[in-house]
Amino acid sequence: MDSRIILIIGGGVAGMEAARQLFLLGYQPVIVEKSDHLGGHVAGWHKLFPDMMSASSLIETMAGGLDGVTVYLKTTVATMNRLTSGFSVVLSNGTTLLCGAILMASGFRLFDASRKEEYGYGVYDHVITNSDLEHWFNTGEDDRIPENPSHIAFVHCVGSRDLKAGNPQCSKVCCMTAIKQAIEMKEKFPGSEVWCFYMDLRLFGKKYEDFYINAQRDHGVHFVRGRVSEVSEDIDGKVILKAEDTLAGHQVKLKADLLVLMAGMLCNEETPVLASMVRADVDSDGFMRSRDNIYRINESSRPGVFFAGACTGTKTVPETVAEARAAALDIHNYLVGNG
Protein backbone atom coordinates (compact mmCIF):
# COMPACT_ATOMS: atom_id res chain seq x y z
CA MET A 1 0.00 0.00 0.00
CA ASP A 2 1.37 3.41 -0.91
CA SER A 3 -0.98 5.87 0.73
CA ARG A 4 -0.99 9.48 -0.48
CA ILE A 5 -2.46 10.52 2.86
CA ILE A 6 -0.08 12.41 5.17
CA LEU A 7 -1.04 12.86 8.81
CA ILE A 8 -0.10 16.29 10.14
CA ILE A 9 -0.34 16.60 13.91
CA GLY A 10 -0.97 20.22 14.78
CA GLY A 11 -2.72 22.98 12.88
CA GLY A 12 -0.45 25.87 13.73
CA VAL A 13 1.79 27.74 11.33
CA ALA A 14 3.99 24.66 10.76
CA GLY A 15 1.12 22.26 10.10
CA MET A 16 -0.75 24.68 7.87
CA GLU A 17 2.21 25.52 5.68
CA ALA A 18 3.34 21.90 5.37
CA ALA A 19 -0.21 20.88 4.44
CA ARG A 20 -0.38 23.50 1.71
CA GLN A 21 2.96 22.42 0.24
CA LEU A 22 2.11 18.72 0.40
CA PHE A 23 -1.23 19.39 -1.24
CA LEU A 24 0.53 21.29 -4.04
CA LEU A 25 2.84 18.27 -4.45
CA GLY A 26 -0.21 16.10 -5.01
CA TYR A 27 -0.64 14.49 -1.59
CA GLN A 28 -3.68 14.34 0.68
CA PRO A 29 -2.63 16.02 3.93
CA VAL A 30 -4.90 15.59 6.96
CA ILE A 31 -4.47 18.16 9.74
CA VAL A 32 -5.43 17.03 13.24
CA GLU A 33 -5.72 20.00 15.59
CA LYS A 34 -6.62 19.68 19.27
CA SER A 35 -8.04 23.20 19.64
CA ASP A 36 -11.07 24.67 17.90
CA HIS A 37 -9.11 26.83 15.48
CA LEU A 38 -6.20 26.79 13.08
CA GLY A 39 -3.15 28.98 13.57
CA GLY A 40 -1.96 27.81 16.98
CA HIS A 41 -0.34 30.43 19.22
CA VAL A 42 0.08 32.84 16.31
CA ALA A 43 -3.71 33.06 15.90
CA GLY A 44 -3.91 34.72 19.31
CA TRP A 45 -1.05 37.12 18.63
CA HIS A 46 -1.48 40.71 17.47
CA LYS A 47 1.53 41.75 15.40
CA LEU A 48 4.61 39.81 14.33
CA PHE A 49 8.15 41.14 14.35
CA PRO A 50 10.12 42.33 12.50
CA ASP A 51 7.61 43.60 9.90
CA MET A 52 4.79 44.18 12.39
CA MET A 53 2.60 42.07 10.17
CA SER A 54 -0.89 41.38 11.48
CA ALA A 55 -0.91 37.84 12.90
CA SER A 56 -4.57 37.28 12.11
CA SER A 57 -4.15 38.31 8.48
CA LEU A 58 -1.20 35.92 8.17
CA ILE A 59 -3.32 33.08 9.50
CA GLU A 60 -6.15 34.10 7.19
CA THR A 61 -3.81 34.04 4.19
CA MET A 62 -2.40 30.68 5.21
CA ALA A 63 -5.85 29.19 5.82
CA GLY A 64 -6.83 30.37 2.33
CA GLY A 65 -4.24 27.98 0.93
CA LEU A 66 -5.82 24.95 2.54
CA ASP A 67 -8.69 24.37 0.11
CA GLY A 68 -8.83 20.63 -0.44
CA VAL A 69 -6.96 19.81 2.76
CA THR A 70 -8.87 17.77 5.34
CA VAL A 71 -8.85 19.52 8.74
CA TYR A 72 -10.14 17.92 11.95
CA LEU A 73 -10.51 20.47 14.74
CA LYS A 74 -10.94 19.55 18.42
CA THR A 75 -9.42 16.24 17.54
CA THR A 76 -6.39 14.37 18.83
CA VAL A 77 -4.49 11.29 17.80
CA ALA A 78 -5.57 8.20 19.75
CA THR A 79 -3.14 5.64 18.33
CA MET A 80 -0.52 5.39 15.61
CA ASN A 81 0.82 2.03 14.47
CA ARG A 82 3.56 1.34 11.98
CA LEU A 83 2.61 -1.04 9.16
CA THR A 84 4.94 -2.74 6.70
CA SER A 85 4.45 0.33 4.61
CA GLY A 86 3.01 3.45 6.15
CA PHE A 87 0.99 3.88 9.32
CA SER A 88 -2.45 3.09 10.62
CA VAL A 89 -3.85 5.95 12.68
CA VAL A 90 -6.97 6.25 14.82
CA LEU A 91 -8.21 9.71 15.78
CA SER A 92 -10.21 10.70 18.84
CA ASN A 93 -13.26 11.31 16.60
CA GLY A 94 -13.19 7.65 15.50
CA THR A 95 -11.70 8.29 12.07
CA THR A 96 -9.19 5.70 10.89
CA LEU A 97 -6.48 6.68 8.44
CA LEU A 98 -3.91 4.73 6.51
CA CYS A 99 -1.15 7.20 5.81
CA GLY A 100 2.20 7.13 4.08
CA ALA A 101 3.99 9.46 6.47
CA ILE A 102 3.49 11.43 9.64
CA LEU A 103 4.48 15.03 10.25
CA MET A 104 4.72 16.17 13.85
CA ALA A 105 3.90 19.87 13.93
CA SER A 106 2.75 19.79 17.50
CA GLY A 107 4.43 23.05 18.47
CA PHE A 108 5.08 24.28 21.97
CA ARG A 109 3.34 25.52 25.07
CA LEU A 110 3.98 28.72 26.99
CA PHE A 111 5.54 28.36 30.41
CA ASP A 112 2.91 28.63 33.14
CA ALA A 113 4.08 31.90 34.70
CA SER A 114 2.30 31.18 37.99
CA ARG A 115 4.98 28.56 38.66
CA LYS A 116 7.48 31.37 39.26
CA GLU A 117 5.72 32.11 42.54
CA GLU A 118 7.98 35.06 43.31
CA TYR A 119 6.49 37.01 40.37
CA GLY A 120 2.93 36.72 41.64
CA TYR A 121 1.15 35.83 38.37
CA GLY A 122 -2.38 34.87 39.35
CA VAL A 123 -1.86 36.40 42.80
CA TYR A 124 -1.21 40.10 42.22
CA ASP A 125 -3.69 42.31 40.42
CA HIS A 126 -1.44 43.81 37.74
CA VAL A 127 0.79 40.99 36.56
CA ILE A 128 0.26 39.61 33.04
CA THR A 129 2.21 37.58 30.48
CA ASN A 130 3.44 38.37 26.97
CA SER A 131 0.53 36.32 25.64
CA ASP A 132 -2.03 38.19 27.78
CA LEU A 133 -0.66 41.47 26.41
CA GLU A 134 -1.09 40.33 22.78
CA HIS A 135 -4.64 39.28 23.66
CA TRP A 136 -5.24 42.75 25.03
CA PHE A 137 -3.79 44.37 21.89
CA ASN A 138 -6.37 42.36 19.95
CA THR A 139 -9.40 42.75 22.16
CA GLY A 140 -8.77 45.64 24.54
CA GLU A 141 -10.11 43.44 27.30
CA ASP A 142 -8.02 42.90 30.41
CA ASP A 143 -8.85 44.39 33.80
CA ARG A 144 -5.29 43.93 34.94
CA ILE A 145 -4.02 46.65 32.60
CA PRO A 146 -4.58 50.08 34.18
CA GLU A 147 -5.80 53.09 32.24
CA ASN A 148 -2.82 55.38 32.50
CA PRO A 149 0.22 53.47 33.69
CA SER A 150 3.20 55.59 34.61
CA HIS A 151 5.62 52.67 34.88
CA ILE A 152 5.46 49.42 32.94
CA ALA A 153 7.99 46.66 33.58
CA PHE A 154 8.94 43.72 31.39
CA VAL A 155 10.76 40.76 32.90
CA HIS A 156 12.66 38.65 30.40
CA CYS A 157 13.41 34.92 30.80
CA VAL A 158 10.40 33.83 32.85
CA GLY A 159 10.66 30.08 32.99
CA SER A 160 13.43 29.95 30.44
CA ARG A 161 17.16 29.77 31.19
CA ASP A 162 15.89 28.52 34.52
CA LEU A 163 17.15 25.18 35.79
CA LYS A 164 14.85 25.38 38.78
CA ALA A 165 11.85 25.62 36.50
CA GLY A 166 13.24 22.58 34.68
CA ASN A 167 13.81 24.59 31.53
CA PRO A 168 17.45 25.47 31.03
CA GLN A 169 17.28 26.55 27.41
CA CYS A 170 16.88 30.04 26.03
CA SER A 171 13.47 30.64 24.45
CA LYS A 172 15.18 33.05 22.09
CA VAL A 173 12.10 34.90 20.80
CA CYS A 174 11.21 36.60 24.08
CA CYS A 175 13.94 39.27 24.05
CA MET A 176 12.69 40.46 20.71
CA THR A 177 9.05 40.08 21.76
CA ALA A 178 9.70 42.16 24.88
CA ILE A 179 11.26 44.96 22.87
CA LYS A 180 8.42 44.83 20.33
CA GLN A 181 5.84 44.97 23.11
CA ALA A 182 7.79 47.67 24.98
CA ILE A 183 7.64 49.86 21.88
CA GLU A 184 3.95 49.11 21.38
CA MET A 185 3.22 50.07 24.99
CA LYS A 186 5.24 53.28 24.62
CA GLU A 187 3.14 54.10 21.55
CA LYS A 188 -0.08 53.47 23.47
CA PHE A 189 1.08 55.26 26.62
CA PRO A 190 3.62 57.89 25.54
CA GLY A 191 3.73 59.35 29.04
CA SER A 192 4.80 56.10 30.63
CA GLU A 193 8.26 54.85 31.48
CA VAL A 194 8.96 51.35 30.22
CA TRP A 195 11.58 49.15 31.87
CA CYS A 196 13.06 45.91 30.51
CA PHE A 197 14.84 43.70 33.03
CA TYR A 198 17.08 41.28 31.16
CA MET A 199 19.92 38.85 31.82
CA ASP A 200 21.33 39.03 28.29
CA LEU A 201 19.71 40.59 25.25
CA ARG A 202 19.66 38.02 22.48
CA LEU A 203 18.65 39.84 19.30
CA PHE A 204 19.95 37.52 16.65
CA GLY A 205 17.57 37.94 13.73
CA LYS A 206 17.22 40.19 10.74
CA LYS A 207 16.23 43.69 11.87
CA TYR A 208 16.07 42.73 15.54
CA GLU A 209 18.93 45.01 16.49
CA ASP A 210 17.10 47.85 14.72
CA PHE A 211 14.21 47.33 17.13
CA TYR A 212 16.60 47.56 20.05
CA ILE A 213 18.09 50.82 18.78
CA ASN A 214 14.61 52.22 18.10
CA ALA A 215 13.47 51.26 21.57
CA GLN A 216 16.42 53.14 23.06
CA ARG A 217 16.64 56.11 20.72
CA ASP A 218 13.06 56.80 19.67
CA HIS A 219 11.11 55.50 22.63
CA GLY A 220 13.43 55.89 25.61
CA VAL A 221 12.80 52.36 26.84
CA HIS A 222 15.03 51.66 29.86
CA PHE A 223 17.13 48.51 29.93
CA VAL A 224 18.35 47.15 33.27
CA ARG A 225 20.77 44.24 33.24
CA GLY A 226 19.54 42.17 36.16
CA ARG A 227 17.06 39.40 36.75
CA VAL A 228 14.09 40.37 38.90
CA SER A 229 14.31 38.34 42.07
CA GLU A 230 11.00 39.09 43.75
CA VAL A 231 7.80 40.99 43.20
CA SER A 232 5.39 42.27 45.85
CA GLU A 233 2.14 44.14 45.84
CA ASP A 234 1.76 47.33 47.84
CA ILE A 235 -1.31 48.74 49.53
CA ASP A 236 -2.45 50.53 46.34
CA GLY A 237 -2.22 47.30 44.39
CA LYS A 238 0.89 48.41 42.52
CA VAL A 239 3.66 45.91 41.91
CA ILE A 240 7.06 46.40 43.47
CA LEU A 241 9.98 44.76 41.71
CA LYS A 242 13.40 44.08 43.16
CA ALA A 243 16.43 43.47 41.00
CA GLU A 244 20.10 44.15 40.99
CA ASP A 245 21.42 46.56 38.43
CA THR A 246 24.37 44.25 37.88
CA LEU A 247 26.26 46.72 35.73
CA ALA A 248 26.18 49.43 38.38
CA GLY A 249 26.38 46.87 41.18
CA HIS A 250 23.51 47.98 43.39
CA GLN A 251 20.01 46.85 44.24
CA VAL A 252 17.15 48.60 42.48
CA LYS A 253 13.46 48.75 43.25
CA LEU A 254 10.65 49.79 40.96
CA LYS A 255 7.04 50.52 41.77
CA ALA A 256 5.15 49.74 38.58
CA ASP A 257 1.53 49.87 37.48
CA LEU A 258 1.89 46.86 35.22
CA LEU A 259 4.28 43.94 35.08
CA VAL A 260 4.59 41.86 31.92
CA LEU A 261 6.26 38.46 32.28
CA MET A 262 7.97 37.11 29.18
CA ALA A 263 6.90 33.50 29.57
CA GLY A 264 9.21 31.16 27.71
CA MET A 265 8.50 28.33 25.29
CA LEU A 266 8.37 24.73 26.50
CA CYS A 267 7.75 21.46 24.76
CA ASN A 268 4.12 20.53 24.46
CA GLU A 269 2.81 18.20 27.14
CA GLU A 270 1.76 15.68 24.45
CA THR A 271 5.33 15.41 23.13
CA PRO A 272 6.35 12.24 25.02
CA VAL A 273 3.04 10.51 24.28
CA LEU A 274 3.16 11.29 20.56
CA ALA A 275 6.83 10.32 20.39
CA SER A 276 6.23 6.98 22.10
CA MET A 277 3.38 6.08 19.71
CA VAL A 278 5.81 6.06 16.79
CA ARG A 279 8.89 5.29 18.89
CA ALA A 280 10.49 8.62 18.04
CA ASP A 281 12.95 10.11 20.52
CA VAL A 282 12.51 12.96 22.93
CA ASP A 283 15.51 15.22 23.50
CA SER A 284 16.99 16.21 26.87
CA ASP A 285 15.15 19.54 26.67
CA GLY A 286 11.80 17.76 26.36
CA PHE A 287 11.31 18.65 22.69
CA MET A 288 11.31 16.07 19.87
CA ARG A 289 14.78 14.88 18.94
CA SER A 290 15.83 15.42 15.34
CA ARG A 291 18.33 13.09 13.70
CA ASP A 292 20.76 15.95 14.08
CA ASN A 293 20.43 19.66 14.72
CA ILE A 294 22.30 20.81 11.65
CA TYR A 295 21.39 18.88 8.51
CA ARG A 296 18.37 16.68 9.38
CA ILE A 297 16.29 18.81 11.72
CA ASN A 298 13.09 17.71 9.95
CA GLU A 299 13.80 14.01 10.33
CA SER A 300 13.11 11.83 13.34
CA SER A 301 15.14 8.71 14.06
CA ARG A 302 12.26 6.62 12.61
CA PRO A 303 11.49 6.33 8.89
CA GLY A 304 8.33 8.06 7.80
CA VAL A 305 8.12 10.35 10.85
CA PHE A 306 9.04 13.97 10.27
CA PHE A 307 9.12 17.19 12.27
CA ALA A 308 8.37 20.82 11.51
CA GLY A 309 8.42 23.93 13.68
CA ALA A 310 8.58 24.36 17.42
CA CYS A 311 8.05 20.70 18.31
CA THR A 312 11.85 20.33 18.06
CA GLY A 313 12.75 23.55 19.87
CA THR A 314 11.94 27.24 20.10
CA LYS A 315 11.42 28.81 16.68
CA THR A 316 10.35 32.11 15.19
CA VAL A 317 7.47 32.23 12.69
CA PRO A 318 9.70 32.57 9.58
CA GLU A 319 11.88 29.68 10.78
CA THR A 320 8.79 27.57 11.30
CA VAL A 321 7.44 28.37 7.84
CA ALA A 322 10.79 27.50 6.26
CA GLU A 323 10.95 24.22 8.17
CA ALA A 324 7.41 23.33 7.16
CA ARG A 325 8.32 23.71 3.49
CA ALA A 326 11.50 21.71 3.98
CA ALA A 327 9.58 18.96 5.76
CA ALA A 328 7.06 18.76 2.91
CA LEU A 329 9.90 18.21 0.47
CA ASP A 330 11.55 15.65 2.78
CA ILE A 331 8.27 13.73 2.97
CA HIS A 332 7.87 13.85 -0.80
CA ASN A 333 11.41 12.53 -1.31
CA TYR A 334 10.80 9.81 1.27
CA LEU A 335 7.58 8.68 -0.42
CA VAL A 336 9.03 8.62 -3.93
CA GLY A 337 12.01 6.69 -2.66
CA ASN A 338 14.62 9.45 -2.85
CA GLY A 339 15.08 9.58 0.90
Binding site: R161, L163, K242, E244, T246
Partner: protein, 108 residues
Protein backbone atom coordinates in the same frame (compact mmCIF):
# COMPACT_ATOMS: atom_id res chain seq x y z
CA UNK B 1 64.75 61.37 43.78
CA UNK B 2 62.92 64.45 42.64
CA UNK B 3 59.50 65.27 43.99
CA UNK B 4 57.48 66.50 41.03
CA UNK B 5 54.32 66.80 43.06
CA UNK B 6 52.81 63.99 41.03
CA UNK B 7 53.66 60.35 40.49
CA UNK B 8 52.96 57.31 38.40
CA UNK B 9 49.38 56.15 38.84
CA UNK B 10 48.73 52.57 39.81
CA UNK B 11 46.53 50.74 37.32
CA UNK B 12 43.42 49.10 38.63
CA UNK B 13 43.21 46.78 35.62
CA UNK B 14 43.09 43.10 36.50
CA UNK B 15 45.60 40.98 34.57
CA UNK B 16 43.48 37.93 33.86
CA UNK B 17 46.50 35.82 32.96
CA UNK B 18 48.17 36.56 36.29
CA UNK B 19 45.25 36.19 38.66
CA UNK B 20 45.71 33.94 41.70
CA UNK B 21 42.82 31.49 41.37
CA UNK B 22 43.82 29.13 44.17
CA UNK B 23 40.85 30.01 46.39
CA UNK B 24 38.43 29.81 43.51
CA UNK B 25 39.83 26.41 42.51
CA UNK B 26 39.26 25.10 46.04
CA UNK B 27 35.73 26.42 46.01
CA UNK B 28 35.05 24.74 42.66
CA UNK B 29 35.89 21.41 44.28
CA UNK B 30 33.70 21.95 47.36
CA UNK B 31 30.80 23.57 45.49
CA UNK B 32 30.94 22.89 41.75
CA UNK B 33 27.76 24.90 41.28
CA UNK B 34 29.86 28.08 41.47
CA UNK B 35 30.91 27.50 37.86
CA UNK B 36 27.38 27.90 36.60
CA UNK B 37 26.82 31.44 37.86
CA UNK B 38 25.76 33.72 35.01
CA UNK B 39 25.85 36.95 37.04
CA UNK B 40 22.13 37.58 36.65
CA UNK B 41 22.08 39.35 40.02
CA UNK B 42 19.02 37.60 41.46
CA UNK B 43 20.94 36.76 44.64
CA UNK B 44 22.18 40.31 45.16
CA UNK B 45 18.78 41.76 44.34
CA UNK B 46 17.10 39.82 47.09
CA UNK B 47 19.96 39.82 49.61
CA UNK B 48 18.88 40.85 53.10
CA UNK B 49 22.33 42.09 53.99
CA UNK B 50 23.11 43.68 50.61
CA UNK B 51 21.86 47.24 50.87
CA UNK B 52 23.52 47.92 54.22
CA UNK B 53 26.72 45.94 54.07
CA UNK B 54 27.54 45.59 50.39
CA UNK B 55 27.11 41.81 50.57
CA UNK B 56 26.53 40.24 47.17
CA UNK B 57 26.97 36.59 46.27
CA UNK B 58 27.38 37.62 42.64
CA UNK B 59 30.27 39.94 43.56
CA UNK B 60 31.80 37.32 45.86
CA UNK B 61 31.94 34.84 42.98
CA UNK B 62 33.13 37.36 40.41
CA UNK B 63 35.80 38.87 42.65
CA UNK B 64 37.04 35.41 43.57
CA UNK B 65 37.34 34.67 39.86
CA UNK B 66 39.43 37.85 39.58
CA UNK B 67 41.70 36.80 42.42
CA UNK B 68 40.44 39.34 44.96
CA UNK B 69 40.00 38.87 48.70
CA UNK B 70 36.31 38.49 49.47
CA UNK B 71 36.55 37.47 53.12
CA UNK B 72 35.32 40.82 54.42
CA UNK B 73 32.28 40.96 52.14
CA UNK B 74 31.38 37.35 52.82
CA UNK B 75 31.32 37.92 56.56
CA UNK B 76 28.20 40.00 56.03
CA UNK B 77 26.15 37.04 54.83
CA UNK B 78 23.26 36.26 57.18
CA UNK B 79 22.66 32.77 55.78
CA UNK B 80 18.95 33.59 55.54
CA UNK B 81 18.62 31.54 52.34
CA UNK B 82 16.77 34.04 50.15
CA UNK B 83 19.47 33.81 47.46
CA UNK B 84 19.09 30.02 47.26
CA UNK B 85 15.38 30.52 46.66
CA UNK B 86 15.82 32.79 43.67
CA UNK B 87 18.91 31.46 41.85
CA UNK B 88 17.74 30.38 38.37
CA UNK B 89 20.71 28.07 38.04
CA UNK B 90 19.85 26.37 41.32
CA UNK B 91 23.25 27.06 42.87
CA UNK B 92 23.42 26.03 46.52
CA UNK B 93 24.53 29.50 47.60
CA UNK B 94 24.29 28.57 51.25
CA UNK B 95 26.76 25.74 50.77
CA UNK B 96 28.88 28.01 48.60
CA UNK B 97 29.24 30.58 51.41
CA UNK B 98 29.81 27.94 54.09
CA UNK B 99 32.45 26.27 51.90
CA UNK B 100 34.19 29.58 51.40
CA UNK B 101 34.15 30.14 55.19
CA UNK B 102 35.85 26.78 55.51
CA UNK B 103 38.48 27.65 52.89
CA UNK B 104 39.29 30.97 54.57
CA UNK B 105 39.27 29.24 57.96
CA UNK B 106 41.82 26.70 56.82
CA UNK B 107 44.09 29.45 55.50
CA UNK B 108 44.38 31.18 58.88
Amino acid sequence: MVDFGFGLSKSSAVRLDQVDLSLYRKLEVLEPGVRTCMSCGSCSATCTAGPWSGMSVRKVILNLQRGKDVSAMMQNCMLCGKCSMVCPRGINTRHLILSLCRIYGERK
